[in-house]
Homo-oligomer: 195 residues x 2
């Protein structure tokens, strides 16, 4: 029998405050508290986000001995064969938005997809589960907006109200559409059912 | 006491035939035989090639139970903050040479460096060593040459005879200069001394 606290507290291993704040807004709606565990868990080089997130969750759970979630996300641009994909964070730090826009110069097909995987690992029971979320959009010609993080200023949703980029949305608005919120919702659904 | 065979046989975990052939040419000069072990060892996401190679060597040694080397390399372009760096292989597959040349359009500072780390792991003794090699050059305006692999056609050595790219050199000529050959020589020196 779990205590109410155990039932309703999630540990999230991340060093990214933006990610944490987006996740907290989702968990709060479901009455779940979430604690940020600031550890850098190992990420493997893999094209498959789910494999990266699962490995990372196992590593985080081992390191801190707690049931824990990690989240891994990437921007997959069709005309660039999925680049920057699983290495979006590194590529954001080196090339930045400017570099990606330069790569997209003169390219008509601007289709892109943000993908997120939330992986959950329980060290005692060896439970390891992953939950995916995706959202289609397109790469804008210019960066727009100051909210969010990473490539949010150049990602515009297909059919979003007023054709905003993610960086032109509040956390609440972004969470109505985002890959991350979708993956978190799938996790929460499973988590609440499995308690 | 080691048998002559143990002394003079190296296992190289790689799935890249080009790498293996370059390495074989270096080992042969030292009278060392090298066997290709075609396993894909885990690579972590890290900016530090040495950490990636060491982790990978441990994983490979664990998987096949043999003392083994792995080699990890990357092209670090100064004007692009080190991009593509440790993710050179993924970026070669997605953006290719064309993408990197596009990113370099209009950029005057074309300095770049190829870096290699050879890591050696012995599963029984837990010996884990890493050896680095570097070579400075510049990114050409156009791809030149058909030899080698990866970004070789756009990497021109500073002061190389006739200003060739790596892809315009034979394996023997490339091995006179290359980051990989330097790292392998450092490993071989250590390896022969430690037997």
């Amino acid at each position: 029998m779990k205590t109410p606290l155990e039932k309703k507290l999630i540990f999230f291993a991340t060093t990214n405050f933006h990610k944490f704040n987006e996740a907290r807004a989702v968990f709060t709606k479901h009455g779940i508290a979430v604690a940020m565990i600031r550890i850098k868990s190992l990420e493997i080089q893999e094209n498959d986000l789910e494999a990266i997130a699962k490995f990372s969750a196992m590593d985080a759970a081992k390191k801190c001995g707690l049931p824990i979630i990690v989240e891994d996300a990437g921007l997959f641009i069709k005309a660039l064969n999925g680049f920057p994909g699983p290495y979006s964070s590194y590529i954001y730090k080196t090339l930045g938005i400017k570099g990606v826009l330069k790569l997209m110069e003169g390219i008509e097909n601007r289709e892109a997809e943000f993908r997120s995987v939330v992986a959950y690992c329980e060290p005692k029971t060896n439970i390891l589960e992953a939950f995916c979320g995706k959202i289609k959009g397109k790469i804008t010609e210019k960066a727009r907006g100051k909210s969010g993080f990473g490539f949010d200023p150049i990602f515009q949703l297909l059919g979003s109200k007023g054709l905003k980029t993610f960086a032109e949305m509040s956390i609440e608005e972004k969470n109505q559409y985002s890959h991350r919120a979708k993956a978190l919702h799938a996790f929460i659904k499973w988590f609440l059912r499995s308690r």
